[in-house]
Amino acid sequence: MEFQVIWFILWGLLWAVYFALDGFDFGAGILYPFIAKNEMDKRAVIHAIGPVWNGNEVWLITAGGATFAAFPTTYAYMFSYLYTPLLIILFALILRGVAVEFRPKAPTEAQKKLWDAGILIGSFIPALLFGVAFGNIFMGLRFDESGYYGTLFSLLNPYGLLVGLLFLFSFIVHGGLWVSLRVPNSLAEKALSRAKKFWYPQLICAILFLILTAFYTRLYDNFIKYPIWFFVPTLAVVFLLLTGVMIRKNKKGKAFICSALFIITLVFSGVIGLYPNLIPSAIDPKYSFTIFNSSSSPYTLKIMTIVVIIFVPIVLFYQAWTYKTFMYKITEKELKEENY
C-alpha cells in the first residue's frame, strides 16, 4: 500500500478517535449546567471528565500535527481558508480548558458562574462547528487555483448545519452516557434521561444526513463504485440503533461503547466517501487537494509511519489504563473532600 493511503487512513483514525473521546467531554460540558443544579452535582460532572479531557484533546493536536506532517499543502490551505471558523473553535477550546481547570479553584460564586458559562459555551461551539466544518469539507470548499471564495456565513449552509447538529446531538448523547457512568446515582439518572431524550434528534439528523448527502456531496460515488464499503455506514446505523436500545435497557456501559463506535464509523463513512480527496473543490474537482497532490515526500511519510506505528499503540495502551483506573463511580464523600 502506498504511504499516502496509509496516512489517509491514519488521518481518518486520528479524527475519529478524537471525536469519540473529546466528544463526550463536549457533551458533558453542554449538559453540565442543565443537569447539575447544586455545587456537589457540578463538582461531580467536572470530576467525571477531569482526569481525561486533556489527554483526549491531544488527539486533536495530533490530528492537526499529522495533517501538517503528512499533507502539508492540505494543512496550509485548510487552516487558512477556514481562518475565522477555526479561530472561533480555538477560542472556545481555550475557554473550555481554562474553565474546567479553574472552576474548582474559583474563590467566589461570581467567578464560579463565569466558569460555568465558559464550560457550556466552550463545549457547545466546538461540538457544533467541528460538524459544520466537516459537513463543508464533505461538500467541498469553494476554491480554485487563485484562492478561496467562501466566508464564515457561506459555511453555515443547510447541509453544513445539518452535520453540525448531527455532531452536536451525538456528542450530547455520548456525554450524557459518560456522565451517567461516573457520577452518583440521582445525577446519573438525570444524565441518562438526557441521553435518552437527545437520541431522537440524533437519529433524525443521521437519517437526514444519509439522504441529503446524496444531493449535496459526492461521498456516495466511492460507495457505488465499491459497494463493499457500504458495510461501514451500515455499521454506523447499527451502532446508533444499538445505542438507543441499550439506553432503554439501562445498560449504560454498552450504550456508551455503541455511541463511541457510532461516532467512529460515522467519521470513517465520511472519510471513505472523500477518498482520495482531503478537501474537494466545490468549483472543479481538478483543484481538489488530494492525498496524492498534497502529501509529503515518501521519505517523510515513511519516517512518520514508523513513529506512529511504534507510539500510537503505546499511547492507546496507557490511555486505556487511565480509563480503567478512572472508570469508577465518584462518591459524594470524595467530592466533599475534593481539594485540587
Partner: protein, 434 residues
Amino acid sequence: MDTLLLSRLQFAITAAFHFIFVPLTLGLSILIAYMETKYLRTGDKDYLRMAKFWGRLFIINFALGVVTGITMEFQFGMNWAEYSRYVGDIFGSPLAIEATVAFFLESTFLGVWIFGWNRISPKMHALSIWLVALATNLSALWILIANGWMQNPVGYVINNGRAEMVDFWAVVTNPYGLLKFGHTVLSGWVVAGFFVLGVSAYHILRKNETEFFKKSFKIGVIFALVSSILVAGIGDFHAKEVAATQPTKLAAMESLWETTKDAPMYLLLIPDQKNERNSVEAIGIPSMLSILAGQKEVRGLKDFPPSERPPVTLTFISFRLMVGLGFLFILLSLWALVKSKRIENSTTLLRILLWSIPLPYIAAQLGWIVAEVGRQPWIVYGLLKTSDAISKSVEPSQVLASLIGFTLFYGALGVIDIYLLAKYARKGPQPKEV
C-alpha cells in the same frame, strides 16, 4: 496595516504569552517529582504537603500553557500557509512527533497525578509526575528541533517548489536545535528555581510554616544555582553556533557593523541602525567578541545588504539584558545558597528573592526575542523570507479581528491566572494533619 505585519504581531503576542507558562512547567515538574519521591523515601509528610502545594501552583500554570499551545499549532496553517506548504515536509514531522511521543504522555499522566491520589499506589503516583516531567522536557526537545531547523536548515533538498526532508537524522541531531533545547530548557529550570525561592521567601518573611518553606528553599536554591550556571555555559556554546551559522544574527546581537579581526567587545554601546554605526562605543575589552564568537574574524552587518539585516537595536538590547540577567541569577542563587542555613535571618536577601520572581521570565522572553527577531528577515534562515511565508487567502481585517481577540482574551486569562497563582501561593500549604 497589512496581513504580514498583523500576522507577525499576532504570532509574537501569542508565542510570548504561551512562553510565560511553559518555562515554569519545565522545571517545577521535576521539583515536584523530587519532593514526592523524597516523601516516599523518608515518610516525612512535609514532602507530601510540599508536592501538593507546589503541585497546585503547577496545575494553575499548566492549564494556560496547554490551551495557548494549541494556538501555536493552528497558527502555522492559519496565518503562515505559504510557510507551512513550503516546509511542512520537514517542519511538520517534529510537531507531530511531539504530540505523539511527548504531549500525550504529559497530559494523560498529569490527569492521573491530579485525580489519582487515592486511586493508585503511591509509587505509581510518583511515577506519573516523573512521566509528566520527562514528557514536558521531551516536548520541548521536539519543538526546539523544529525551531532549530528554522534557524539552521539541514537535511533537506529543494524539490517540487518546497523543502523536502532527505536526512531525518540530520534534522534531529541539528546542533543548533540541540543547543537551543539545552539553553531553553535550562532557562525554564531557572524560572522554576527562582519561583520556588521567591514564594518560599514570601512565607519565611512572614514566619509562616518556616520549616516547610526552608525545606522548599533548600531544594529550590540548589536547582536554581545549578541551572543558572548550566544555562550560561550552554549559552556560550550556543552563541558560537549562532556565529557559525547565522552571522547576521550574531552581528546584530553585538551591533558589529564592520567585519573585524580580533573584535573587541564594548561594555557600553548604543547602536544607530539608520547610519550603520554605533553612536557610543566605550570600555572595550580587546578580542573579547572574537573569543566569545569562537572566530578570529567576526563578520559585520555591512557585509550583508540592508534587506538581509535584522532589527539591530532590539536584538542587541535584548541580548545584553538577557546576558546581564543570567549573571545576576548566578550571583543571587550563590548568595542564597551561602545563607540558606539561616535564611530566615537574611531579610534583605529574602525580599530581593521575592521581587526576583519575574526576572527569569523576562530573561526567557528576551532570549526568544534574540532568537526570532535576530533571525529576520528570514523565517527559515537563508531559505525563505518571512514576507513570502504569509497566507495569501487571509484578509487583513480577519487578522486584525483575531489579533484584537487574542489580545483581549489572553489579557483577561493572564490576569486571572496570575491572580490565582498569587492567591494560592500566598495561602500556603494545607495545615499539618494532627
